[in-house]
C-alpha cells in the first residue's frame, strides 16, 4: 500500500518504532524488521533490549493470535522468518555484550520424525528469552540426546514429535535416562501437535508445552523454582 511504502522508520520515535517492528514482524516483513532492528541499535539500544522488547514482544503477539485461531501456520512461519532476520543481526552482538543466559536447553525432534517447524519456533523463542539452545535437529535417537546431555549439561531436555507413531519414542529416551540414573538431572519438556498433558505424564516428562510461548513460560517457571530452591538451601 502506498501509505506503507512512504513510511520512513527513521522518522519514528523509539516507542513508535518498537511498535512498528512488532507490526512488521506480525506481517512477516523480514526486511523491514531487520531495518528497524538496525535503527534501534544505531540509536544506542542494547541488543538484549531490542531482542526482548521488539522481537520477542512481537512474536508473543503472534503466538497468542495463533492460539486464538486468528493467525494460521503460514503466517506464523512468515513471522518466524522475520524474527530470524532480526536475530541474525542481534546474535553476534548478544555474544559480544555478554547478554544474560537464563538457562540451557538441548532440543531435538525424536527418531523417525523429520518435522521441525514447531521445534524451530521453540528454539527461537527460547533463545529470544535468553536461553542457550543446542538444537540437535531432526530424527534424533536416544544416543544422540544422551551424548548432547553429557556434553552440554543443560537444564532442560526438549523433545518434539508431530506423528502419533513417533511420539512414543519420547518414553524410550526418558526410560534410558532412568536406566542410567540421570533422569533427575534434567527437566524434560515435550511438545508436538498430537501430544497432550496426559501423554506427557504417561511417558514421564516434567511438562507438556502446547506451543512455543508455553515452552518459554514453563522453562522460566522451572528456572525460578530452581533459583528459589538454591536460595533457600
Amino acid at each position: 500500500m502506498s501509505d506503507e511504502a512512504e513510511l520512513n522508520l527513521r522518522e519514528l520515535d523509539d516507542e513508535e518504532l518498537v511498535k512498528q517492528i512488532q507490526d512488521d514482524l506480525y506481517d512477516g516483513l523480514r526486511d523491514e524488521v531487520v531495518e528497524g532492528v538496525d535503527i534501534l541499535l544505531e540509536r544506542g539500544w542494547e541488543p538484549y533490549r531490542v531482542l526482548t522488547e521488539a522481537l520477542v514482544g512481537g512474536m508473543a503477539i503472534v503466538g497468542v493470535d495463533f492460539r486464538d485461531g486468528i493467525l494460521f501456520v503460514p503466517e506464523v512461519l512468515l513471522a518466524a522468518n522475520s524474527m530470524k532476520g532480526g536475530m541474525a543481526v542481534l546474535r553476534p552482538l548478544l555474544a559480544e555484550t555478554g547478554a544474560p543466559t537464563v538457562g540451557k536447553l538441548v532440543i531435538g525432534t525424536v527418531k523417525g520424525d523429520i518435522h521441525d517447524i514447531g521445534k524451530n519456533l521453540v528454539s527461537m523463542m527460547m533463545e529470544g528469552a535468553g536461553f542457550e539452545v543446542i538444537d540437535l535437529g531432526i530424527n534424533c535417537d536416544a544416543d544422540k540426546y544422551l551424548k548432547a546431555l553429557d556434553e552440554h549439561k543443560p537444564d532442560f531436555l526438549g523433545m518434539s514429535a508431530l506423528l502419533t507413531t513417533t511420539m512414543p519414542y519420547m518414553k524410550v529416551v526418558i526410560d534410558t535416562l532412568i536406566e542410567q540414573g540421570i533422569r533427575d538431572d534434567y527437566v524434560v519438556l515435550v511438545g508436538g501437535a498430537p501430544l497432550n498433558e496426559q501423554f506427557a505424564k504417561a511417558v514421564g516428562a516434567d511438562a507438556y508445552c502446547r506451543d512455543a510461548s508455553v515452552a518459554v513460560d514453563t522453562a522460566q517457571a522451572f528456572m525460578a523454582r530452581k533459583h528459589n530452591q538454591r536460595a533457600s538451601a
Binding site: 512461519l77 512468515l78 523417525g112 523429520i114 536416544a142 512414543p168 498430537p194
Partner: protein, 260 residues
Amino acid sequence: MPPEALTVIACGALAREITRLIAFSKLHWVTLACLPATLHNRPERIPEAVRGAIHRARERGASRIVVAYADCGTGGLLDQVLAEEGVVRLEGAHCYAAYAGQEAFAALAEAEPGTFYLTDFLARQFDTLVVEGLGLDRHPELRDAYFGNYTRLVLLAQSDDAALTAKAEAAARRLGLAFERVFTGMGELATFVQAAADGTIHGATDHSLLARHPGPGDRQGGPPDGQAPAPGALRAGDRPGSDAGEAHRDGSLSRAVAEI
C-alpha cells in the same frame, strides 16, 4: 433375518472409497455419514466432531455405529471419546496405514522418515488441502519450510488411474520431491467395513499409544535409519494383497473393489 442397520461415521477423505465398498458388496443396511475432509488439517477438532456425529446418528435411531477414522493426529484423544461412547474405529495412526497395511506402512516410514503420503483422495484434492491449506498458493516461498526435510512423495493408490498418478507426480515435482507409487487397493479399510457390516466388530477400540511403544531394549531392534526396509516391506509398484499372505489379510473384497 436381515442384518442390523449400521452407521459408518467417516472422514470425508474416505467417502468415495467407502461408498464403493458398500455398493460393490451390496451392503444396503450400511449408512455412511461423513465429516468434512478439511478436518485432516485440524486434527485437534476431530474428536469432538466425531462425538457430535455419533450423537446425531443416535438421535436418528442408529444403534450400531463404527468410526472410519484412524488416530489421525489426535494423539489418542479420539480414542478417549470413542471409549466413552463405546464405538470402535479403524486401526492405526492414519488412513495411509490402513490402506497400505499397518506393517507395510511402518516399513515405508522406517525406510524413509521423510516421506509425504498421498492417497487417491489427497492426490485429487492436493491443490485445496495441501497447496491452499498450507498457504503455498499465497506464499510459495514457504515450500522448503514445510517440505525441506522430505525427500519423496509416495502415492498410496486405491485405484489404477493414470490421470491421478500424473497429478500426484506433478504434486511431487511442485514440492521438489522424488515420486513413487504404491498400489494398495482398499487395504484394511475394506476389511474393517466388511467386518463392521457383518457385525463381527464389538466394543470400544483399545488403541493405547503407550501400549505399542518399543521398550528401551527394543530401540536398536529395527533396521537402522536409511537402511533397506524390513523383509516383506512394500516396494514401489508392489501390490499389497497380491501375494498369498497379504491376500489373506486384506481379504478378497479389497482386491476386487480395487479393480472396479
